[in-house]
Symmetry: C2
Subunit: 193 residues, 2 copies
């Protein structure tokens, strides 16, 4: 007989695997690659600290819930580095399957509640989701800047690539954060050449 609490704990135990999903970004001290669980925590702190930088008025508690959940699908689908070559349709299909399986471990009411928060983030049509997405794009360059280039070096990234793949997304939910990042990034690339 599986109880409600058994299902809740089974989900939380499954989620533990996110601590072993390795990202392209390195820690600020360059000691190792970041994992997706600690990245998710860092983003919730970004939300708490940078709420005043959102383009639209946001409900920061909803933004935080999205950021807690947003990478869980990587347990099955893996992390896709933003400057890697990715088959977007295949990735989205893998992430959808992962969401169905992982949130499906929960009791039905919680499954529906948490899945809908994840889906809102993925779809990125609401102000809350767009700000959450902006933070998800803003944190890696901030880490790279303190880590002396970090994953930019490994992926041969140029300033223009950052503008195209990251700036264009940060701008949607947090234009002031992109203005800030662009100036820092530009100074970094000037000093590196």
């Amino acid at each position: 007989m599986i109880t409600r609490l058994d299902q809740q704990i089974a989900f939380l135990n499954e989620a533990d695997k996110l601590k072993s999903i390795r990202r392209a970004t390195v820690l600020a001290d360059r000691s190792r690659a970041e994992n997706s669980a600690e990245h998710s925590w860092h983003l919730t702190l970004y939300a708490l600290v940078l709420a005043d930088q959102a383009k639209q008025s946001v409900d920061i508690s909803r933004v935080i819930k999205m950021l807690i959940l947003h990478d869980l699908v990587e347990i099955d689908a893996g992390d896709n580095p933003i400057f890697g070559n990715v088959d977007v349709a295949a990735m989205e299909a893998a992430e959808q399957n992962a969401a169905n399986r992982i949130f499906g471990i929960l009791p039905n009411d919680l499954r529906d509640e948490l899945y809908s928060i994840w889906k809102e983030f993925e779809t990125a049509q609401t102000d809350d989701a767009q700000f959450a997405k902006s933070l998800d794009r803003f944190q890696p360059p901030m880490l790279n800047l303190v880590a002396g280039g970090g994953s930019w070096t490994e992926y041969n990234v140029t300033e223009q690539m950052i503008e195209d793949r990251i700036g264009s997304k940060i701008k949607i939910g947090a234009p002031a954060l992109w203005d800030y990042a662009r100036a820092k990034i530009s100074a970094f690339f000037k000093s590196a050449t």
Copy 2:
């Protein structure tokens, strides 16, 4: 000229160090020790999933904010394993100094806001803080159970020690979680002897 955003980013960069604070608890797959950043993320997920297990009615968004912030002081003060021998007064003094320094990196309004959330967690007098504390005590035994004993072996922990140091705290904010954990822990120790 240091801007508001410079101060916000300096704080977020400092917080990155929490990813390097090693805890006694191991991951479910026993591959390595957990760090305090990913532990904090896991706890926010515990809060999202187990909100219905709180003894009192709680504001789960406030609980989550406490859990995001609760371990930041370990950047200076380190993690104190629950079954280790700790000078409580010295630890609390070190954590208070850490809070003053770390939250002090922020602009004053944010410093005051985040510090007061951390202090409420530490003081543990409100329903929200007591539930947050209960989750912080409940997650390690859940990990140890799936990791075949985990840190209990390293610290020669008995069932009675778990009841005294962990159960007594979980009960305050989430008695149903302690009932659940106690039965699982009891079955684990029976099967291990």
